[in-house]
Symmetry: C2
């Protein structure tokens, strides 16, 4: 966000990101920190076995309820056959990789735009290792979740290898999902059968 | 997994979960720990701005490559308009809530099945708080990712409130995504423009 040229031109769009709007957002947040506070939401309904459906629509952000989405996004999760499911959707830990891939990519693209670096292609591959003995309650020595995750980016851009490596580092440094995975998040889970 | 009755009946299906197969899996993993090792994968391609697409298909597990999925699952991510995107899919942090909802639900359903508890309805609502000052690089005092996530379950089942509360606790204790979020996962991110 140090490209004076981009900052001067409020109409510049780089990598599909309106850089003028991005800098306006940064300036607005610097003045009023509360508009940076977002609350995202999801609702889930179970169907059968490993099959359940998440619905995503409204959220709170920029100081107001955002109801601009006319229909919800619907996402089915299930387990593959080998995990006794019907394979009607990716499984939940595959959704974790989806979240991470999307977030690192967007972070990279937005921050490249802010620096005036035009990207041609961005691809990534992700792998995560998980030992099911945790979930099955067989061993206390292995954790239930991912033991580690590896992400490899392949990028074509009008930039040097050095600049691209910096961008990948910056994406990682700024990505909300990278932070969510690599540092503990307090998660509360409760039963409340009295809600509507 | 202590229900002797269910363990004896290899054909019992509870909550859509084949409990006989589940116990066979547990027994097999106890004998050969390596079959519990899974490696999940995702590939992502960027399109424009906040819009990118994740493709999910093959994985390694139960001692072999699993190629049973004939077509990949395709998941689009984008940012809503207020975050300068085109809103062509949930955003990456909404995918995190999707992963958590699906995983807690499946964990609850599978473990209820193992205990012989029949579930009628399972619904959940999730909320996560995120301060964008981290992503925007404006403040080092706020983290980039979720500050906290809250999950509320509503369950109808042939069980007491006490049993349901125990189930919710067990779901949390065993869920791979709950663990992935609440304890740090090592994530490596690198540029490799030499891969095919």
């Amino acid at each position: 966000m140090k490209t004076a040229t981009s900052r001067d031109n409020k109409e510049t769009v780089v990598n599909g990101v309106n850089v003028g709007e991005l800098f306006k957002t940064v300036d607005a947040v610097k003045k009023t920190a509360s508009i940076a506070k977002f609350r995202f939401r999801a609702g889930n309904t179970w169907f059968d076995g490993g099959h359940n459906r998440t619905s995503i629509r409204d959220f709170y952000g920029a100081g107001a309820e955002d109801t601009s989405r006319k229909t919800p996004f619907i996402l089915d999760a299930d387990e593959p056959k080998v995990l006794l499911g019907g394979d009607r959707g990716p499984n939940p830990v595959e959704y974790v990789l989806t979240a991470l891939a999307g977030c690192l990519t967007s972070s990279l693209v937005y921050h490249a735009a802010a620096r005036g670096i035009t990207l041609d292609e961005v691809e990534s591959r992700l792998e995560g290792d998980l030992d099911l003995r945790g979930f099955l309650g067989i061993s206390d020595e292995v954790r239930n979740g991912y033991e580690n995750i590896r992400v490899t980016f392949k990028i074509k851009a009008d930039a040097t290898e050095e600049q691209l490596k910096e961008l990948v580092q910056l994406a990682q440094k700024r990505s909300p999902v990278f932070d969510t995975l690599s540092r503990p998040v307090p998660v509360s889970v409760e039963l409340n059968n009295n809600t509507s």
